[in-house]
Amino acid sequence: MGSVLKRWKLPAVMLGPFIILISLFYFLPVVLIAILAFTSMDSAMRWDFNGLANFQKLVTDPNIGVVVKNTIIYVGFTLLFNVFFGLALGILTTYFIQKESVGLFFRTIWMLPRISPPVVYTLLLLWFFDPSEYGVLNSLRALFNMPPDKWLTTHPMTAVILANGLIGASFGMIIFSSAIKSIPKDLFYAASVDGASQWSVIKDIIIPAVRWPLMFVTLWQFLSLLTSYEYILLLTNGGPLFESEVLALYSYHKAFQNFEFGYGSAISLVLVLIALIFSALMWKWFGMKKMMGSSRIE
């Protein structure tokens, strides 16, 4: 007994804090959501189990159609934007700008929105899209004698996708640029001696070398987009009406605006399931296991 204690004392001290933190802030919430989803908890905070009632409500919810459609559009387009724009930025700042300091400068600029608080960044975006003639976009329109437009009301989804896409691209940019930097210089030299055009260098050398980061970023961004709503909340709050409402935001609104904690949890649980299913599918499609293997480039 004494020896067992002795053997596990150090690991327990070392790992203990992290295990407690992880269970408290990562694992417990999922369990709580899973349980809450089967209750009718509201502002009275009572645990009344009501079976599948929340899920029946979800299926028959009149808004659910438009919210799901929005989620698909939002996640799909923002993902495209994040991944391809990130890749373009990565290639631009590492391959086309060979000077490291200049590349780093541009990458840092693109990182700024990610390291500034969302509220501050959203304020800038709100000013950019401002419906009055003093908004950035509208004052640009004024140069061409066009009347001001209420951007966030007329194109809420476009604004939301643009905002998230621009911020999210920096993540892919960082991953891709480090992957491109790890391609041996000789390969680029060989390609230029072999007469490869810029496009061919991108297509035949860079893209194959960043295949695994490409898939990782796609999967990672997919998961984070599915559950992120803070920029939408701050920018349009899902409006006008439900035009830019996505599932994650809908769950938030239900739980913290209507105080339907049980129903909100049920929506979240569905999101968790969707995330799990898609992760598994993408893992399989992309052959992620093989990708995790060691690099083919020596």
Binding site: P184, D186, L187, Y189, A190, A191, S192, V193, D194, G195, A196, S197, S200, D204, I205, P208, A209, R296, I297, E298
Partner: protein, 369 residues
């Protein structure tokens, strides 16, 4: 294609020149090796000929045409890299056909020509493999096939064999020489391996600190090194060096004083510290030569047809060859000797050869500039 470098300078920092006012002429169809220790600028020179680096000043001519501003793809060159630089996700065939694909050669012709190039390097049976499934020697052959497939005018080889084992090296050496002769292609080989340069090249440019020290045929470099550095670098086992003093026509070497023919020397007569160089092959056991040295056997390395014996002469070491049937005992004193005509003399301060016939100054300048 004739390649001329005129007064090339290239620097990567402001302090020093990596390549310092270098001039070099390579005749059409010639096989030239750039030989030197690492960091001497030989790879930089090659990358400038390839067009990957641009020289800071000076001109590069291909067949008399200035190519300084020509992109690599417009120079009609093939190149093999030390790392082989094969495209990892393409098969052997796709790798070889890649330069043709860039030239927009129709698909059937492309495959046909790629297959021919693969046959030439004896890779015909491995066309569907990926580079990661090939051995080092096979990867090297793919790189070579890719370099020659578009029938370039110049073939550039950047340390192509430094990742191969000794046996494979000899095989690839012959292979590359054969292909070079068959195609009659102007070839430049960058290497730090003097044996590789000696066996393959028509002419060798020995480089140090961004300068060409000597540019001549392998035998000329071996027999008449112009500089201490060249003498040290060329030949295996390397040349033996003993400290000596030269004044007028007298060479003092250990406890001997040797009279030299004054005509034989390129020397002003003032007393000078010199390196006396003798090739291991020129030393014989016994006392039949003009120069006799006593030393203690320190190491014996049998190599089959001969033995390399290392003797200690004072603080210095001398290597020479002995017939395999002679028994050499460690710790025993032996006498070895060499002909006076076999020695090389180098000024200790400048490294310059003091032997007149060792360098035909006029000829060298003509070759180098």
């Amino acid at each position: 294609m004739k390649i001329e470098l005129k007064n090339i300078c290239k620097s990567f920092n402001k302090k020093s020149n990596t390549i310092d006012h270098m001039s070099l002429t390579i005749e059409d169809g010639e096989f030239v090796a750039l030989l030197g220790p690492s960091g001497c600028g030989k790879s930089t020179t090659m990358l400038m000929i390839a067009g990957i680096y641009k020289p800071d000043s000076g001109e590069i001519y291909f067949d008399g045409q200035l190519v300084n501003d020509l992109e690599p793809k417009d120079r009609n060159i093939g190149m093999v890299f030390q790392s082989y630089a094969l495209y990892p996700h393409m098969t052997v065939l796709e790798n070889i056909a890649f330069p043709l694909k860039q030239q927009k050669v129709p698909k059937e012709e492309r495959i046909e020509r790629a297959k021919q190039a693969a046959e030439m390097v004896q890779l015909g049976h491995l066309l569907d493999r990926k580079p990661s499934e090939l051995s080092g020697g096979q990867q090297q052959r793919v790189a070579l096939a890719r370099a020659i497939v578009k029938k370039p005018k110049v073939l550039l080889l950047d340390e192509p064999m430094s990742n191969l084992d000794a046996r494979l090296k000899i095989e690839m050496r012959e292979e590359i020489s054969r292909i070079q002769k068959e195609l009659g292609i102007t070839t430049i080989l960058v290497t730090h391996d003097q044996e590789e340069a000696m066996t393959m090249a028509d002419r060798i440019a020995v480089m140090r600190d961004g300068k060409i020290i000597q540019y001549s045929t392998p035998m000329e470099l071996y027999n008449h090194p112009k500089d201490y550095f060249v003498a040290q670098f060329i030949g295996t086992p390397p040349m033996n060096f003993l400290k000596g003093k030269l004044s007028n026509n007298q060479l003092r070497l250990r406890n001997m004083t040797i009279e030299l023919d004054r005509k034989w020397l390129d020397f002003d007569g003032e007393e000078t510290d010199v390196h006396v160089g003798i090739r291991p092959h020129d030393l014989k056991l016994g006392n039949n030569g003009d120069i006799r040295i006593r030393g203690i056997v320190h190491m014996v390395e049998p190599i089959g047809h001969s033995q390399i014996v290392n003797v200690k002469v004072g603080n210095e070491q001398v290597r020479f060859f002995v017939e395999p049937n002679i028994k050499m005992e460690y710790g025993r004193e032996v006498e070895i000797s060499a002909d006076i005509s076999a020695i090389h003399l180098f000024d200790k301060a400048t490294g310059r050869s003091l032997k007149k016939d060792s360098v035909n100054q006029g000829q060298i300048e003509e070759l180098v500039s």
